[in-house]
Subunit: 132 residues, 2 copies
Amino acid sequence: MNYELLLKQNNLKITPQRLGILQLMHEAGHISIEELFASIKKQFSSISLATLYKNINAMLETSLIKEVKAPEVKARYEISKTPHAHLVCHVCGEFKDIHFDVVHVAHTIADTSGYTINDTSLIVSGTCPKCQ
Amino acid sequence: MNYELLLKQNNLKITPQRLGILQLMHEAGHISIEELFASIKKQFSSISLATLYKNINAMLETSLIKEVKAPEVKARYEISKTPHAHLVCHVCGEFKDIHFDVVHVAHTIADTSGYTINDTSLIVSGTCPKCQ
DNA sequence: TAGTTAGATGATAATAATTTTCTTTTAAGT
DNA sequence: ACTTAAAAGAAAATTATTATCATCTAACTA
């Protein structure tokens, strides 16, 4: 994945810290602020938490990344992809993407409600097969 | 709505503060901590924010109430009802219930994923007809 | 390729959000 | 009424997030 291009397309300067953040986010799939901070410190031992927050906010504003807010648990961040849903195991805490047609759901709801939809968040929580 | 019964069924003591919180939550439909605190102080001028948090947490634990976490905005709380979805207008901030069959969605996902589902959160954000 | 500049970083302080602690009070069962 | 476990309220403590500011660097230009 070309993170430099991704930043450039979003009018964000390319910095080693940002590349590191995106790399970690990509590897983890879905990562919380604290996990991200713990990991990024291995590469940039003096990185500031403020820098992390500022970058997360900058990338959220341009929609380069997305915030996933599931009930009960801390927010996690992912690189924006085609719309999809999430599955969370409340035992092991793992997040998974699921290819569920959220766009279709959004259209249905738009039609009946008269709203102009620009985001659909579908998060299903339960126990994964391993944890049952 | 019988809040005393609701509390009793959840093994929570009936206190005037709790009745007030439930009343306000019911009237507002979906309410944030700060809104709730501002409103409840009109009835109980010396209520502590700690009391509010403790009660919210106690009621969440028994599932008497539910936390609705939408992207971009603060969490809101509602009295638990039959499963439904939410529509949020990011202009006026209003939350609305929508009668979308989230249980059916959960079943579909359970079947293909092998997860045991116990919660489904579907939140659609956009612009409401008034705000367009 | 050096010079310029807007924007990024990191340190720290400030603010906001939430939880803990502890003493006093009260709900609810004897 | 008496007892007791739990709740309320005040305050402090903790955690999360944002703001400030001096220094540094990415990226553009001559």
